[in-house]
Structure formats: structure tokens, C-alpha cells
């Protein structure tokens, strides 16, 4: 069945199909309609879940931690300020090894107030022990929710999927709704290995001294690394059942390219058009969409980029004092490679500014023109 739906409802329907059991969330633009739709689905019984309308995002994540520790499938969603407020509990969720799934509708952070798209909110959470996936279309959003639960439960770590404010969250697209019975086969009920159970009492998260703490951390790192292979397997299996797969990264027309554009989220759609146009004009330009950000898909990227001369990374985010965050991660990931491309870093589209084809053309033009990357990220699409 195909339905026309906005990205936010694609999230809600993904959650319904995944049969989440406890949902706790707090409204914030542009995430709000995810929560509204979920409360309707819970109220009319299409989704048999408890919906806890908490008084803050901090409590939303704490509720998810409690529910997941009690042994049920758990979901929340937020944006920008809400995610920032949750920060403490994001560490708690991964530290407690709870497979919570969260949708983040990427929104710029204040001050000044801005409700539009930017990834600095989720990327500021990159060290919290959550896997992070970035989506390009509403179909990918719905499919990724289902995949996220499967990955999370396999490796006992929480997963965050990200979608762009408004460009996806509030834009309607046709979305193929998977058959419930197929989803049920793909994602059987959650069977926790450990849970809070008076018949089998255990203490979770107690004071853990230096003699023990480090091994818990090491295990998280191991699971996180394993998460890459698991995300790949889950995507492959999803593809076999539902006929759609996305990869950890997606190369687009990279054959024989001398310059590859790297981006994520909805900008990737614009980049495809730009690449098509330039290819038509004989330019050897390709694009790679990075879908998995944590764990960072270094080997997969390297395989595509090794032979390319120049890579231009377009970041809709910024780490002040460093620059574009994807570019920074790319540089860090490739720095020990003998043969590696020069990485040019561009910042575009902050606070929801449109990243139009002319902006991306400018990025490509500048990258061709420059011999060496600038030390700092180059800001494009600025007011003159």
C-alpha cells in the first residue's frame, strides 16, 4: 500500500509497524506531529502501546530508560533544544545498554531562536554512545525506524535516526507502507537478555569503581564497532524482504569521478540533480551520501574515495572552532591512509537556509579551482 505522508508521519507509522510498547515524548517544533500521530495511533488502538505524555524531554528519555529496563520496546522523538535537554540521559541509555530508538528531526539550536533544519543538535550528541543514521526521503525514514529497532536490539545500544526539519518532516511524499506481517517476521518481539524482574533481582547501574568501569566502556566500544556490520546485515535483510536498501553510505555516479561531493540527509537529493547536470556536461563528478554517522563508516568511504583526487564535504552543521563535522570526521578517519583524497570542507544551509543547486555548483566550482583545501571550512550561500 502506498500513502502520501510527511516525514514525521513516516516516523510514526514506522513505530506503529515496529510495535513499540512504550512511547514517551514531549512536543517541539518540528518533531511535534510525530508525537501527535503516535498519541492518536495509541488512543485508537492501532498501536497497542503506552504513551506517556511527560513534562520534558529529560523525563521522556528517563521514561524510555525505565521502560526499556523493564524489558519492552521503547521509542521517543525530539528536536534541537529537546535533544540538548536530554543529553545527560542519552549517555545513561547507552551506558545501561538499552535498545531505545529515537527520531531526531534536526533543528538549529538557539540562541537566537530558529526552528529550521540543521544537524548540529544530533551531531553534538555524537559521543553519547548512540548509533546515528541520517535519512534522505520519507520512505527511507519509515524503513529506517524498523531497521533501527532491529539493530538496537541486536547489539544492545540505542539508535537515533535523523531527518531534516521541514524538508522531510513536513514535506509529503509517497511512501510504500510495508505489510505488517512481513514487519513482524523481520522484527520479532523484543526479548531482553536482562530486565528488572522481582523474581530474579539484580542491581543495574550501581556505583562502579575504577577497577570495573573501564571494561563496561570497552564493551560499548566493541558493540558500537560491531554495529556497523549489524547495520549492514539488517539493511541487506531488509532489502531482501521489502525490496529497498540504503547501505551505510550510498555512492551515486562515482565511477571514474575526479571529484566527489559528500553530504547527508535531504541535501543528498539536491546533490543528485547537480551531479546529473554536471555529468551531462562531461564533468566527472560523483556524490556519496553518508547514511550511518556513528559508528563512522570509514572503510566503506575509503573504498570509494581512495582513488579520487578531491572530495568536497557539505556540512549543514558546525563545530565552532573546527568547522563542518562530517568533514572533520572524514579527515580524522583518513589521516593514516597513504593514498587519500584532499578533503575540502564547506558549511551550508545552517538554520534552514536552502542549499540550492547553485550553492552546490559553487562548492564544486571552488573545489576544482583550489589546489589545496583551505585550513578552515568555507562558508557558502552567504548573504553578500
Amino acid at each position: 500500500m502506498k500513502k502520501i505522508m510527511v516525514g514525521n508521519h513516516a516516523v510514526s507509522w514506522g513505530v506503529m509497524l515496529s510495535r513499540a510498547e512504550v512511547i514517551s515524548a514531549y512536543p517541539i517544533t518540528p518533531q511535534t506531529t510525530i508525537v501527535e500521530e503516535l498519541s492518536v495511533l495509541c488512543a485508537d488502538g492501532r498501536l497497542k502501546a503506552k504513551f506517556i505524555p511527560v513534562e520534558s524531554e529529560h523525563s521522556a528519555m528517563a521514561c524510555c530508560v525505565g521502560a526499556a529496563a523493564a524489558g519492552v520496546r521503547t521509542f521517543t522523538a525530539t528536536s534541537g533544544q529537546g535533544l540538548a535537554l536530554m543529553h545527560e540521559m542519552l549517555h545513561w541509555a547507552s551506558g545501561a545498554r538499552l535498545p531505545i530508538v529515537m527520531a531526531t528531526v534536526n533543528r538549529a539550536l538557539g540562541s537566537p531562536w530558529n526552528i529550521w533544519g540543521e544537524q548540529t543538535d544530533s551531531l553534538s550528541q555524537r559521543d553519547t554512545g548512540w548509533l546515528q543514521l541520517y535519512c534522505e526521503s520519507n520512505q527511507e525514514v519509515l524503513d529506517t525506524v524498523i531497521q533501527a529497532f532491529k539493530i538496537a536490539e541486536e547489539i544492545s545500544l540505542p539508535v537515533m535516526l535523523n531527518l531534516d526539519a521541514f524538508f522531510l518532516s513536513h514535506t509529503a511524499e509517497p511512501v510504500e507502507i510495508p505489510e505488517q506481517s512481513l514487519v513482524d517476521d523481520f522484527l520479532p518481539p523484543y526479548q531482553p537478555e536482562f530486565r528488572l524482574d522481582p523474581k530474579n533481582p539484580h542491581s543495574f547501574g550501581c556505583m562502579t569503581p575504577p577497577e570495573y568501569y573501564m571494561e563496561f566502556r570497552y564493551k560499548i566500544q566493541q558493540s558500537m564497532l560491531q554495529g556497523k556490520a549489524v547495520a549492514q546485515q539488517v539493511d541487506d535483510a531488509f532489502g531482501r524482504v521489502f525490496g529497498r536498501k540504503y547501505g551505510l553510505i550510498e555512492p551515486y555516479r562515482c565511477e571514474g569521478a575526479d571529484l566527489i561531493l559528500i553530504t547527508s540527509g535531504a541535501i543528498a537529493s539536491t546533490a543528485r540533480v547537480v551531479v546529473d547536470n554536471l555529468r551531462e556536461k562531461g564533468r566527472k563528478v560523483g556524490m556519496v551520501k553518508v547514511r550511518l554517522f556513528r559508528p563512522f563508516p570509514k572503510d566503506e568511504l575509503l573504498e570509494i574515495l581512495r582513488q579520487v583526487e578531491k572530495v568536497a564535504v557539505v556540512d549543514r552543521n558546525v563545530s565552532f572552532g573546527v568547522g563542518g563535522i562530517f568533514a572533520h570526521e572524514m579527515r580524522a578517519a583518513l589521516c593514516n591512509e597513504k593514498v587519500r583524497p584532499a578533503i575540502f570542507s564547506y558549511i551550508a544551509g545552517l538554520g534552514g537556509r536552502d542549499v540550492t543547486p547553485p550553492v552546490l555548483n559553487d562548492v564544486i566550482y571552488q573545489t576544482y579551482k583550489r589546489q589545496e583545501p583551505e585550513a578552515q571550512s568555507v562558508w557558502v550561500g552567504m548573504r553578500s
Partner: protein, 288 residues
Amino acid sequence: MYERRELMYAGHQACAGCGATMSMRYALKALGEKTILVIPACCWSVLAGPFPYSALQVPVIHTAFETGASTASGIKAGLEMRGDTETTVAAWVGDGGTFDIGIQALSGAAERNDDIMYFCYDNEAYMNTGIQRSSATPFGTWTTTTPANHPKGQPKKNMMEIMAAHRIPYAATCTVAFPEDMMRKISKAKAIRGTRFIHIYSPCPTGWKAPSSLSVKIARLAVHTKIFPLYEVEGGERYNINVDPKNLPVDEYLRLQGRFAHLTDDEVHTTQETVDREWERLVKKALD
């Protein structure tokens, strides 16, 4: 009627004379083994024992400082989805985690009337971090952030009134000097559905600069000086005072504790006046 077995082992990490530890022992006797405890940051995060030990024989989840109520709400929802409607989910939180940093989450849970029991063991300061003032610290108290030459200038926040204003089904005060009263209230609360609030006055010899042998005596004096009256509030409206205080002067209570040693006669007088006024208010509500 109460669990004869001890659900708390002796090998906990508390100071001698710790009221919070006695409180836990009595509470677990009343709650029984079908209980899940939620412990946010507080002395009890340490008392329960370091990994891989636990001083408690019920499942415990440790959680962040301000999330006692919200974590408990999540657990309750999770248990219900698993078909378990019997297990009591009990948040066990200090005064700082209740009166201060966790009040928002607690108010949220109470407003939703989530089916949890919320215990505040009140030692009238942040003891875990070394005796800093909280909004549960009484007027005139020395703490490490309210030095004796500039003691706390504000009275204790009335948390019971705040909880009563949420019109939750049950709220009660109790203390370790009256264990039967405490266990009766906890058992009664356990049988009620919705948010239940139990405020336990828990002496802290370390933070109060009092001999550890006097914890229970100090708790008894708190009741008999009317500083900490024992009462219940049902539905946020029906007040019931459970122990008639002997009406002792507050000085008898204050002088046993080093945290009040600097108080002038005037300040003791101010405390007495406040206590008398609060007591009259409470009596009026109980007569209503």
C-alpha cells in the same frame, strides 16, 4: 503482616546511625519482595553497594539525579505492557532529588497520577556531596554552603503541601522513631493505585553533627516538638494527624545537633514561632 525476612543485607555502606538506612529497612519490610526500586543520585546510590555487590534483595535500577519519578513511570508502563500489574515500582529519592532538581519530573508524574510510589528520605541537605543546603534545609541551619556566620536564611519548603496540591490519592509523613506508623502507612499506600508520596524524615548524624546514637531520639523529638508532624493526606484534601505531639520546645531538638549550635536565642525563637504557626495551619486542615 510485614515481611519477617530482611530484604536489606547488613553489608551496606552507610554511616553509623544513618536514618536513610533504617528507613529503607522498614520500607522494604512493608513493600515486600515484589518491588522494583529506582534510586537516583543520593547517598543511597552509594549505600546500596558498589559493583558487583548489592545490599538489597529486590531489583534496583540506579538512575540520574533528577529522574526518580520519570524512570519509575517508565518502568511501570513497561511492566504493564508485559502484563505485570502487581509489582510495586518505588522511587527512593533524597530531599535534593525531590525538593530541588527532581521536582519537575515528580510533579509531572503526580499530575499524570502515574501508578508509582515515591519515597523521599529527607536528611535536609545534599549529604552525598558533602552537606550542602537544599530547599529542605530548615531556617538557621549550618551546611557547607551556608556557613555558621551566614546560615540558611529561608525556611524549609513545604513539600507535602506541594504534593497535596496535586490531589494525589495519598501522601504521608513518617520517620524512623515511629516504625509501626511508617510501615502502616507504606502498606496502606501500597494497596492504593496512582501516585503515592511518602516523606520520611531521616536523621543524618554526619551532616547534622550529632552523635550517631541519637538518630532515633532526634527523630522522636522532631515529632514531639511539632517540627516534623506525622500525618496523612488523602486525595490532597483529607488531612489526618497520626501522632499527638508532646509539644516540647524546639530548643530540646535543636541543641542536640551541631548544625544548630550557632543559633542565637532570637533565632531559636523565630524557629519556635514558625513551627507553632505551621502546626496551627496543619491542625486547621485536619479539623476541616
